[in-house]
Symmetry: C4
Subunit: 208 residues, 4 copies
Amino acid sequence: MFDVTRYATAAQSVIEAGRFLYDRGWSPATSSNYSARIDAEHVAITVSGRHKGKLATDDVMVVDLHGRAVQSQCKSSAETLLHTVIYRLFPDVGAVLHTHSVKATVLSRLVPPGEALELEGYELQKAFNGVQTHEGRLTIPVFDNTQDIPALAEQTRLWFDEHRAQPGYLIRGHGLYTWGQTMDDCLRHIEAFEFLLECELETMRVRP
Amino acid sequence: MFDVTRYATAAQSVIEAGRFLYDRGWSPATSSNYSARIDAEHVAITVSGRHKGKLATDDVMVVDLHGRAVQSQCKSSAETLLHTVIYRLFPDVGAVLHTHSVKATVLSRLVPPGEALELEGYELQKAFNGVQTHEGRLTIPVFDNTQDIPALAEQTRLWFDEHRAQPGYLIRGHGLYTWGQTMDDCLRHIEAFEFLLECELETMRVRP
Amino acid sequence: MFDVTRYATAAQSVIEAGRFLYDRGWSPATSSNYSARIDAEHVAITVSGRHKGKLATDDVMVVDLHGRAVQSQCKSSAETLLHTVIYRLFPDVGAVLHTHSVKATVLSRLVPPGEALELEGYELQKAFNGVQTHEGRLTIPVFDNTQDIPALAEQTRLWFDEHRAQPGYLIRGHGLYTWGQTMDDCLRHIEAFEFLLECELETMRVRP
Amino acid sequence: MFDVTRYATAAQSVIEAGRFLYDRGWSPATSSNYSARIDAEHVAITVSGRHKGKLATDDVMVVDLHGRAVQSQCKSSAETLLHTVIYRLFPDVGAVLHTHSVKATVLSRLVPPGEALELEGYELQKAFNGVQTHEGRLTIPVFDNTQDIPALAEQTRLWFDEHRAQPGYLIRGHGLYTWGQTMDDCLRHIEAFEFLLECELETMRVRP
């Protein structure tokens, strides 16, 4: 069981995130999925295949931390396990966002297989929780895309269990995952990632 | 004869599509044309030369599936036959959209004559009806531009009769055609195409 | 003397054009100037140095076809003569717009001195009055920038007197001039030009 | 002591600037900071770490020209001294804006260490106070990024004391600083800088 007021608050934060992210062009064509934690056992998450710029209350549902629907006949996002694995790994995480921007998609295909994207020397790295200076380096792993979500969830669990300070990851040809303690933190991380990915791409255009 | 309520619904979907597509910059300078099916014999289609971001009810008219005006003195889009040929070929298609984006125009001129644009490895390919994985390949033919619309209509009919699963095509230096069972499906296809075309162009900028 | 109702209509079309063009990013930082014809002898034109996205009635004034202020103490745009020379040359022109987009600025600097920009094979060329096919070629001259406006006005007069079908020109490192019979025509020309200039720049990025 | 009505006016100009600059994408992810002069001794400045598109009255505070908080328990922007050094150096400056655009970030990293960005031949250079022609040259210094703000403040003081006509500077991998007599002047300078930086980047893409 979960508190319905906490559910309503979480669902509303997902709906508003969708409007923002779709308007930026980062969740086109019913792609992407978003979630917000309700409590230690439950998260509110988008129903599969909905228009992310027009989410309403019936486009959000509840799953437990194993990705099973709770009090709902709907089918949650196909990538639900990529969300729940993060909530299990980080008890203080309150929101997970997955977006599909052009920049994330293109850059994830340009990074050579087996390599991560390394970001350094950007002041905006300080937008990530816990980062105090531009002098550090962020390592953003790029996982190969697959339709086998349980396998990918396990891959991300292993990687982030060993690199707990890193704020997100890319899936090749697919998109970005990031998280935060609150939805506001998580949206700030999305903005920072999109900014940094665009900087990297802009630089590669001039110096391929 | 056609049902006027179905006509009004179809016309309204065309008007709203125009507002969306113009705002995105995909139908500049009175370019583009849009249609929605009324019934087995009739479609609502834009009148020639109108501003696509400001369509009103008198900017939409009815044609039959041979492109002839029905109950109207207006002149329908010069490319009406490119719409009707699709409705005849696919009885379940409910909407056809033709847009003129910078990305579609530029990419269609960069694809060598006689070659198609091949899209693969993108998660967003799943936005097209019937596509379940990023592992397949979409083939987007590029037809040479011409002012001889009946000839181009016949060319597209022959090609799509043999490649019924492909979701759209480009005309060189001109734009994109795509369709769907509903206007929402068709708009999702436009968004997916624009996303994928931008990804391809972005990649070519870095790796020409 | 001029008809004040015709003046108010012309001024309003200038104000609304400004809102549109500024929102697109084509008239940043108080750059650009716009005009609309009142009658055979007078045009409404923007006052020098105003914010183009926030034009009000006192940001528009009247000049005669020699660029002299009429019934006004304001100073009209420094480039007033570039407008009036077009109205004198083409009695059917009803509006002249000058914009400062990034694309126009960059492309005008990339075209070699003494050469024009040639546009061909684009369907969108049909957006210009009188163009019926993509098979023709538009020649867009690029004049060197100067603060000697009377000299530049004379240069444009000589060129367009000999090439009356061409729809506009660039000034190097500065911007675009185009015109039309009505303000709507002129705005359509701006949209078409911006589209075509972006296509050309996008193509040069991939195939320098 | 300062006049509270002058404070309210200054604070409101900061709030509105934030809305504009965030909407343009120039202040993402709580980055950037803005200030407006109240009088010879005081400036209104953004509180550290706030969302720049949603500034309210409690996101702005007062500091003196040595960067010390006045009548406030809040912590002002970490870069407060970069603002106050400009107000001390230029008694006629009424506003200072610092933004974090992709273009400024990327370009500041592409300029070789020890070199400045030189801008010439652009008509839009006239958007800067005191510039009458495109024929001059603007020199935009690029300072290395550091978390030692007092040292950077001193560096900028020395440079601008010797180059008082130059309108702003870049910090490598970080962003842009510019100023003006009024907030409107300062916003015009931001727009002009963003335009010119984009022109430079666009040109480098085609001619690396």
